[in-house]
Symmetry: D2
Subunit: 299 residues, 4 copies
């Protein structure tokens, strides 16, 4: 390393977790959109790092302001909103060659009053969060949709047998166990201009159905089936990546207390947990470039 | 204080957050119950504290085992399960005079496959958590039901005007704002032997409806209306207590960017937040004794 | 309950977790104070709840502003700052009879450069947090100091034997185990005008020493010794309350892998955990009134 | 995409967050090591995903057991422990070609009693966590050391000026602000067989000193200086990557309350926050292969 020069490597910067709530109130029946948005720029920022020269540093505060200003003009599908944001920064600043724009979207349902949804009162939906990322590299955008914290559980229809045994193996085989996980999935589209809301709803539906319908010999198998069905149904998806913890539910030994336990009473453990991460992809998938960089979990 | 004697004061101990998942599988259509249960005993435990003499200390591990053993015999409404647990400890150990048994219950819904709920595959429901506490004092139980993390929001129908102004007041009056909170509510029953599941569902319904239907002049007013309606509908409830943060949504000033903002784009702030805590009660409510002790938030 | 009237019960409101960082920069050697402060008022607020009349509702935004304005005049010991805040609200508003003012204080140490502390660069200290509460009831203040998240562990010098055995008991006795907890302690002073910073430091020192020096026959015994030593050393403390989880460290059975395990390798479990809560007090302690109300954990 | 084949892409699996506490008790003066360890394997696992055939699936439970068994033989520097773990799995299972082994290590200090450290009583150290990753690809290991949650703050010596202004820019320039961040850093070694504990301590020292001593014109500049100094001092480090939030401290406007605020009273904001991510590297750095994959934050 003697004589080597120390240089700036890959970098990006911006504003993270800008919380924006937008109410559309054109009529008395309001609509709500609730998101946390992150904007990060890539480009020529060497002077800032090396010399503290900020002439190229679009302030993160400015990025935040831009998010709010653009939200005034409407949000819509998070993917579309991020595409508009990204195009703005890449188009308006010569030295910005790309970046990463990400969103988390939270679900709100109407409060039911006398059997119908209230006009302007809402209650938070499930624990899961919809995610979206737009990565732009050399001016070219890639869209990655996703979801996280989708907790699912099968109370039967899950086995784990036939695994190798070495000197450290004590686990017993089982042909009936609880299978529980919290799905994080991200899928990459191979074209632009899609109906992202409709696609999200359908991919989510497929993921849930595939989890339910797969008689699981391994969580890996459930994962692969979930991905395969998404890709089979949606030619516009080139690959889907999963990070799925195996949230162990241990059958409690009740024999000391004079009771059997035929798969009924379980201890839900926190840690450690299994962690299964894999991509399901097309053999002729388009190149993702650096679009997956920096997405937590599986790269 | 010279000459004073140092003594043990109020105390209780036990096992906290015992995670139990129970599958009822009498038929192919499984049922799931998912709870975290805490058991704490009160009684004569002075020797353990003062002398390290554990002759009275029912091990917290034993309390955990008891929870799992009892779960094998069925759980049902969390309030009923806690009553059975509490009676066991108070009846079986002479020196146990009471205690506190608490549960959090998590919602699971069936995964929809082709329009109907799957037999043994489930997806977590909303962010909210059902809570239950059974406090026993001198052998007499009190039941406190509740919920937490019920996030609700009104996009209009909320004002805040007429408040006093002093030298530190800068807040402007408003006749149209977002009102958002995450409801923690606990209500105390004045009789035993109730249908706790049905009551929970109905109280939850009333809380949501009251939040939606109240044109709010203050979060305090919404809170009182929510409590009042519960007590009006349910004579078996003697009091209900709330801890409700005022989760501020600030209208973003978009004028520097050439845009108006007629109640459409908001910044959802994390901290600080308003915090409104109050009880709504009957004038002839039964005495709660120490039943509320140690319940986080409002006492 | 028929014919009962529904009324407002106990209540308080205010602004929670106002994050204030104060830099004292009278010289080049800066001092930093970093706190989260909560202000809640008690008094006559019935009209706000029942009628939505805010004439008495000192806005929570005003309470926040007051905190920042008072911080400009200096913070000092959190207890002193809260006493000044509380006196202001009780003195300036006729209908405010009391309230609760609370603080969390975070530790910052100077960054060491060439062996000495830097003038204006700091690094966060330990995980523990100093807490303070001033409760005012009918104009009379009570001061409760404390700390939370003080994680301590003994690798030996801890036993658990002699506990009763029933049909649900499987735990083995042990004369050598790891004892680990995360101490939350709160202590109430019986006079005002104390040197709260010095007292805090000394009580913390005593708690740590007592934990270390007690050969523990039960976590309850350690707790009592910790409290007793504080009260013996400090006549200005009337009572001290603890909430101490027993954070289980289970010895791993390594015999299947041909290894012994003489107290060396442990699994640190998350949940469930033991939970020991108790007060140590003087037999002639002054009455606390409602000062402990609403402090999470032990009441 | 018509006619494309759906295949398994990159994958790995294992056990995450195995909590292991090891006490070395050869003498009365105990030593404690406290870690959370994750083990994930890469290799030929296609059959498990596609067919549910587990013949290659070394159970995650077996990976956990291996961690505990190896811990009995001593832990030492986390990097060394992970290297031993990784070599075991790659050597013992033909179809395992690599994987990722990661550790978090928590600091414990001796409790001070009468001015000296107690033999077997400990108190948790700072909020920061030491991290280590060993990535093995085709049998060849890469070691990445790191730390996370190292919270630092400068109360002066930080400016932000000269940034571009567009129609969405409202931020004012400042020549004196608080600069606060929570450092996550990861650095990659270019040789094996190092004294990882000594290196960690020295890199941490350099990071803190560089943060303190850099008069900062941008957080990017501080970051680069921190990385540059590490690489200058340590030829065995080829690159270092940072993820550093800019934790905003806003000067509170106290003029409405008749007070000035010359850099003394700040509101510490939670969200949004700036997010600066960059690598500092040698121009002749060795190729990292996939070693950085799946490390959250910057890739």
């Amino acid at each position: 390393m003697a004589g080597s020069t120390i240089i700036l490597g890959a970098n990006r910067y911006g504003k993270a977790e800008v919380r924006v709530v937008r109410i559309t109130r054109d009529t008395a029946r309001h609509e709500i959109e609730d998101l946390a948005i992150t904007s990060q720029l890539r480009g020529d920022f060497t002077a800032a790092h090396v010399d503290g020269d900020n002439a190229h540093v679009v302030a993160t505060d400015t990025q935040k302001n831009t998010i709010y200003a653009f939200a005034r003009d409407g949000i819509g599908a998070p993917e579309d909103f991020l595409l508009r944001l990204g195009a703005h920064f890449v188009d308006d600043f010569d030295w910005v060659s790309g970046g990463r724009w990400a969103a988390e979207k939270y679900t709100w349902n109407r409060i039911q009053v006398d059997g119908s949804g209230h006009d302007h009162s809402f209650v938070r939906g499930g624990t899961e969060i919809r995610t979206a990322v737009v990565a732009i590299e050399n001016g070219s955008p890639t869209v990655i949709a996703g979801l996280t914290d989708l907790a699912v559980l099968k109370s039967t229809g899950s086995e784990f047998t036939g695994f190798p045994r070495d000197e450290y193996t004590t686990l017993q085989e089982t042909t009936d166990r609880i299978l529980a996980t919290s799905v994080t999935a991200r899928w990459r589209y191979n074209v632009l201009g899609l109906d992202y809301d409709a696609l999200f709803a359908d991919v989510r539906r497929i993921l849930l159905e595939a989890f339910a319908l797969t008689h699981s010999l391994a969580l890996q198998q459930s994962l692969f089936q979930m991905g395969k069905r998404v890709l089979e149904a949606h030619p516009e998806v080139d690959e889907i990546k999963f990070s799925m913890p195996n949230l162990h539910h241990f059958l409690v030994d009740l024999t000391p207390f004079g009771r059997d336990n035929p798969g009924e009473v379980f201890f839900a453990s926190d840690r450690p947990y299994g962690l299964i991460e894999a991509a399901v992809t097309r053999d002729d998938a388009t190149d993702a470039g650096t679009a997956w960089d920096g997405i937590a979990g599986f790269c």
